[in-house]
Symmetry: C2
Amino acid sequence: IVQIEHLQKHYQMGDTIVRALEDISFTMLTGEFWSIMGPSGSGKSTLLNLLGCLDQPTDGLYRLGGIDVSEMDDDELSEIRNERIGFIFQSFNLIQQLTVLENIEVPLFYMGWDPTDSRDRAQELAEKVGLGDRAGHRPRELSGGQQQRVAIARAMANDPLILLADEPTGNLDSKTEAEILAMLQELNEQGKTVIVVTHELKVAEIANWNLSMRDGLIDAVRGPEDS
Amino acid sequence: IVQIEHLQKHYQMGDTIVRALEDISFTMLTGEFWSIMGPSGSGKSTLLNLLGCLDQPTDGLYRLGGIDVSEMDDDELSEIRNERIGFIFQSFNLIQQLTVLENIEVPLFYMGWDPTDSRDRAQELAEKVGLGDRAGHRPRELSGGQQQRVAIARAMANDPLILLADEPTGNLDSKTEAEILAMLQELNEQGKTVIVVTHELKVAEIANWNLSMRDGLIDAVRGPEDS
Ligand SMILES: Nc1ncnc2c1ncn2[C@@H]1O[C@H](COP(=O)(O)OP(=O)(O)OP(=O)(O)O)[C@@H](O)[C@H]1O
Ligand SMILES: Nc1ncnc2c1ncn2[C@@H]1O[C@H](COP(=O)(O)OP(=O)(O)OP(=O)(O)O)[C@@H](O)[C@H]1O
Ligand SMILES: [Mg+2]
Ligand SMILES: [Mg+2]
């Protein structure tokens, strides 16, 4: 479902170039569960943003479901992002003026869901992540881990084919973390492709495939047989 | 150095009350190294904000260095925050328009440091956290873990007596995390009081005292003899 060939991402900063991704190539199949690990600054979030169609590479090829993403126009990209991809951001990216429920509903609003249905779905997801009683509150009134959980609920709202999670448990205690990881495993068992950026070994272990990065390059790829 | 008695913090939300801190009492001595753990939403950040004089309790007593903090006026509080307390925020709170160096210099600016001295100190700290080559860049151009490291450098800039860290390694890989933890230990060995909120056992283990929270209350206090 994901085909990456010689992907590159540079940022021109005055007269220096920051090479976030040097030359990345790999293939991921539908329904696989991948973890991406690597040192701070090695390019994990950059790669995830490209996979999530939130950004375009400087060079290289990205095929999603067989279609060259760089050939798509803004509307097609937008449709893919809203309907098929769920994204949990490293810094949550919640909308401060909206309540917990409204934040979770955002993807459903874009897909034209009936307001009553989307409200019900959002309430159900809020309870699933343990925030049912905070549904009417705003991000600024929540703890770090609570905000992270709203971001997680939002990413699951549109029942996406691919779930991209950038360090989804960094602000959670181990019990809550275990609940979130169980949710991700459940989604994967339903056939969804799950890609998690993490630097915690216990999170990487629930994936069956692992990509290690270093300085914008792939350091290693491990699959189920490599135990 | 820190004396807390029956501290409470409530938020009135329409007609519900969120009791972030119910009734907290404890004492911390100068030069001790404390970790604070507990489930997401249990009140850790709220407590740390009160300790850091960033907020006032709804009720209860907080004595810092023998002085009742609730008796202090804004100028005195401001002076304490700038000169004696270093704070690493859970969401970094970097100033987006300032560069890495300028962000680190902020506390020194408030203390009236000579601009050349403060620039040198900031550069030294940037290198210490591995960001010497990103000194002129802005937070938006940095990875999550890099932003966290800028926040850490800023907290150490004014050589504070008390360092308060809210989940300072949540976005860092294990190697970088080990470097940051070594820095905290080093500061503690120099006599500084260090208080770290974390939900990682390996971070809690470098402290010699541990406070466990649950639902706005203290669940347990462990010291060196409790192994
Ligand atoms: N400004 C606010 N208004 C209303 N409720 C708040 C506010 N700030 C915090 N709370 C609530 O107080 C409780 C404690 O929050 P706090 O941020 O201290 O938790 P925490 O232990 O740091 O959690 P985490 O591990 O998720 O960061 C939570 O239920 C939170 O939603
Ligand atoms: N907008 C930008 N402009 C310039 N450089 C950038 C930008 N975004 C990212 N970078 C740089 O690209 C490199 C990779 O960043 P990325 O955010 O992908 O790292 P990461 O692996 O997610 O790190 P972390 O674990 O700290 O979150 C870093 O050196 C970062 O500073
Ligand atoms: Mg990142
Ligand atoms: Mg917190």
